[in-house]
């Protein structure tokens, strides 16, 4: 269970100082995905502090949300920029959404050929300004979550004069522009 425990640590690192008013329930029966924060703390289990198991009411208890929702993990990630367009709008946001339901979560309606779904979360996705906001929300709702780290972006060096730089060796590129 070393994976589970280190994941716990990864989650708990953040929220405790920032939001003392709630605690995420992590009892033995709740499973969660390995959560990777930036620096992936995968240390020995002995160093992990046990988290006090305080009972905090999450929204699902009184919100009337279906119980099944608790068993579905949400994913928190930064959607990638659309490669079809040059604009980078909305790519700074963090998104929460649900994995598709396997096993007849979706089918083609025999009458019209439209897509029908038994999954009430299939059309839901939420945007947040930061990863912390998204994690905070998921914890308040009592959802298990998986945080997908954004890929590191490299800013490539660019210079117009590169096009005209003299290279002493054999010509390696034929520009047909």
């Amino acid at each position: 269970m070393s994976l589970l425990r280190s994941s716990k640590q990864a989650i708990f690192r953040w929220p405790l100082p920032a939001c003392p008013t709630y605690t995420r329930r992590f009892s033995a029966e709740t499973h969660n995905q390995p959560v990777r924060t930036g620096d992936a703390p995968q240390k020995e289990t002995a160093q992990i502090a046990e988290v006090a198991d305080t009972d905090v009411l999450t929204a699902e208890v009184i919100s009337g949300a279906p119980v099944e929702l608790r068993h579905r993990m949400v994913r928190i990630y930064q959607p990638a920029r659309n490669t079809m367009q040059s604009g980078a709008g909305k790519s700074e946001r963090w998104r929460i959404d649900w994995d598709v339901l396997l096993g007849a979560g979706r089918w083609e309606n025999p009458l019209m050929g439209w897509a029908s779904s038994a999954d009430y979360m299939q059309g839901t996705r939420m945007s947040f300004r930061s990863k912390e906001d998204a994690m905070h929300f998921a914890e308040k709702q009592g959802w298990n979550y998986y945080v997908q780290p954004p890929p590191t972006k490299k800013i490539p060096p660019k210079n117009y004069s590169e096009n005209f730089v003299y290279r002493p060796n054999t010509l390696r590129i034929m520009r047909t522009k």
Partner: protein, 721 residues
């Protein structure tokens, strides 16, 4: 709209110098070179921003300051062209608006991106662009994700001054093959496609003819664009001139649901986005990840039984075939995900067998490189690390077909640095020049002996890199080649294996293979010599029918029902890679988690669940009920399997020890002198998914066989005026 708001407060009109009166910090230095500094600071829209001094374009500085600069021709991963003029900005004390892409960022300059001067300049540019652009957005495939459409909402005029009797410019469409549909009337001549073909794909045939209004993009002579990366020009095109042919007029972007996932067509693990509508996958888009695929993918478009009885039949099949111990064989195919491999290995081991074969030539024997040391079978230099190499030796591989995205990195490095490439193996067009050393073990021996010009260059290189193709192990002389290479690398470990650099890299071409080695999905020596009586094919579609004993009971689990299914006694329908959220390990050993875009059809299930269910019927249930506890099991096997998105390096000492084991394992290998052959002859149909695709069949006809693929617009001779 913006102009109305901002005009009264400013005097700036096109041609006038706007000077906000900032003092020029003292006298100008006479010296032509200033002190070299790492970063420069400039002001964009009143906001200070610091960018690296070395080769930063002004547009990058503006972006860093959070200002959005419209652009058509500038692209982060292509050379700067500076011909669309859309990115004009105002720079203090500059007489004219400045094209921010072609202008280097200068220290201390004051840049304005949102002034009346800038707006008017961009509006002028837009008016010229739209003068010859057809008004066919309602029937254009780019509609909804078109840069021209979006930017004309902001900078376009609401009425036209275009009153030519002759009408708009008409350009004939070009035939670029079965993947790319052209509508050249819409072309705004940004030349992104030409630069992509020149720089990234290495197809120098795509170019421009004519000048000004008559400029045309084309192949000069009538031929299709033959590149495995050609599909990327669909994404690059900022307008609807180049669109996807298989996807043409199928969906609008706002109808699509995007799911970010991992490509399994090769072992690079390209990051992709799966766009689906309803239960159908409509298209696959690349997803930017500088660590893996940058922004490109190899375009191979996607085309889209009672359980209790089936599982009971298998249980009965094992019993009736009388298979015990190593007579129970499992074969892992190309598209098997890590979770299902782990589950299948656990199941087979529980049944008392070590007979875990891989779906390749020599796959039922223990691998030459062993699986005990990771660096023996992984791409140790990492994919971005390829750009650091200054000499590359390719052995028995054609990266252009085995990992096209990696190949474009080698080309990039080859263009911009003095990288030297050598090739041992079958001659092939790699999109960059190389020294051809020979096709067989003798060429390798000569290289190791230091004969030839390339061997000398390799010896002198600071970061030499040997890329060994995964097919080398399948060759008759593979063992001898591995032996020679392992000894060579060990001998030259000062340059090849250092704490910062590991120059011995194995390039896999099959998505599931690194994971299979990682979990030890290989047979023991004793098991490999056993004749199987029960065979479990997990996504295995390349098996040689002759290798399957006639009396064996065969189970096939997979999704496209290809060759493997036709051999099987029982077929279990499983989910395709767009239908399951699974772990994939790429050739670097980087594990990444994919995501289900659409649910699998009908009765099919995720692969590992099928195996878990089968284990129960067989009476030894596997100890995991959900995917999380299965991933805990994976953590126990190898923690790297669940440390997503990172590459963990092997220490030099361990890497050297690994090479010694290779040398020891292959010490008795004999040289037969047979040449190393490349494994992929038809790039467009390497797996059951692409074999089921109509488009890929057309690609094969057009590019591999050189036939007319049946969809070209023949009869319209390309007329280059």
């Amino acid at each position: 709209m913006l102009r109305l708001v901002s005009r009264p407060s400013s005097t700036g009109r096109l041609g006038k110098v706007v000077c906000s009166g900032a003092p020029h910090g003292g006298r100008r230095s006479i010296a032509s070179t200033s002190a070299r500094q790492a970063d420069i600071t400039l002001t964009v829209d009143g906001k200070e921003v610091t960018v690296p001094k070395v080769r930063s374009a002004l547009i990058q500085a503006c972006e860093a300051a959070g200002a959005t600069i419209p652009r058509f021709c500038y692209h982060d991963r292509l050379a700067i062209a500076g011909n669309c003029r859309m990115c004009l900005v105002e720079v203090e004390r500059s007489p004219k608006p400045v094209a921010s892409c072609a202008m280097p960022a200068m220290p201390g300059s004051k840049v304005f991106t949102n002034t009346p001067l800038v707006h008017e300049a961009r509006e002028g540019v837009m008016e010229f662009l739209l003068a010859n652009h057809p008004l066919d957005c309602p029937i254009c495939d780019q509609g909804g994700e078109c840069d021209l459409q979006d930017q004309s909402m902001r900078y376009g005029s609401d009425r036209t001054r275009f009153h030519e009797i002759t009408g708009k410019r008409a350009v004939e469409n070009k035939d670029l093959g079965p993947l790319v549909k052209t509508s050249m009337n819409r072309c705004i001549q940004c030349t992104r496609c030409v630069r992509f073909a020149n720089e990234v794909a290495g197809v120098e045939e795509l170019g421009t003819t004519g000048r000004g209004n008559d400029l045309q993009i084309g192949m000069y002579v009538e031929k299709t664009m033959d590149s495995e990366l050609s599909g990327n020009i669909i994404d690059l095109c900022p307008v609807g001139a180049l669109t996807s042919k298989p996807y043409a007029l199928h969906a609008r972007p706002w109808e699509l649901k995007n799911t970010e996932s991992i490509d399994v067509m090769d072992a690079v693990g390209s990051n992709i986005r799966v766009d689906s509508r309803g239960v159908q996958v409509m298209r696959i888009q690349p997803r930017t990840n500088d660590e893996v695929n940058e922004e490109w993918i190899t375009r191979r478009p996607f085309v889209a039984a009672s359980w209790e009885e089936a599982l009971q039949t298998i249980a009965d099949g094992i019993a009736s075939s009388g298979a015990t111990g190593n007579e129970i064989q499992a074969v892992a195919g190309h598209l098997a995900d890590t979770e299902s491999l782990v589950a299948l290995k656990d199941l087979i081991n529980r049944l008392g067998s070590d007979n875990l074969a891989l779906d390749q030539i020599n796959g039922s024997a223990p691998p030459l490189h062993g699986v005990d040391v990771r660096s023996n079978y992984l791409f140790n230099s990492t994919i971005p690390g390829v750009e650091e190499a200054d000499a590359i030796l390719l052995v028995g591989t054609n990266p252009r077909h085995e990992a096209a995205v990696l190949n474009s990195r080698i080309r990039k490095s080859w263009l911009h640095t003095s990288l030297e490439v050598g090739l041992i193996g079958e001659r092939t067009d790699t999109a960059y020049g190389y020294d051809y050393l020979g096709a067989d073990s003798k060429a390798l021996a000569d290289f190791i002996a230091g004969k030839g010009a390339f061997a000398a260059k390799f010896k002198a290189a600071k970061r030499p890199l040997i890329i060994v193709g995964s097919a080398l192990a399948e060759q008759p002389d593979g063992a001898a080649a591995y032996n020679a290479l392992a000894k060579f690398v060990e001998k030259n470990k000062d340059s090849l294996i250092t704490p910062e650099w590991n120059g011995f890299s194995v390039l896999h071409r099959i998505a599931s293979r690194p994971a299979a080695y990682e979990i030890g999905f290989v047979p023991s020596k004793k098991a490999a010599s056993t004749q199987p009586k029960f065979i479990y094919l997990l996504n295995a579609d390349e098996v040689d029918p002759k290798s399957i004993p006639a009396n064996a009971f065969v189970v096939y689990q997979g999704h496209h029902g290809d060759l493997g299914a036709s051999l099987a006694d029982v077929c279990l329908p499983a989910a395709a890679y767009t239908e399951k959220a699974m772990t994939w390990v790429n050739t670097e050993g980087r594990s990444q988690v994919g995501r289900a875009a659409v649910p699998p059809p009908g009765a099919s299930r995720e692969d590992w669940k099928i195996i878990r269910a089968l284990s129960e019927v067989l009476g030894s249930p596997l100890p995991y009920d959900d995917v999380l506890s299965l991933r805990d099991r994976m953590w126990d096997i190898s923690p790297t399997l669940v440390r997503y998105d990172v590459v963990e390096r092997t220490s030099p000492e361990v890497a050297v020890a690994g090479l010694q084991t290779i040398a020891a394992n292959t010490v008795s290998a004999k040289v037969s002198g047979k040449p190393f052959l490349k494994p992929i002859s038809n790039f467009y149909q390497t797996d059951p998914i692409s074999r089921a695709s109509v488009t890929m069949a057309q690609c094969t006809r057009a590019f591999v066989k050189g036939e007319d693929y049946g969809f070209g617009e023949k009869g319209s001779e390309a007329a280059y005026a």
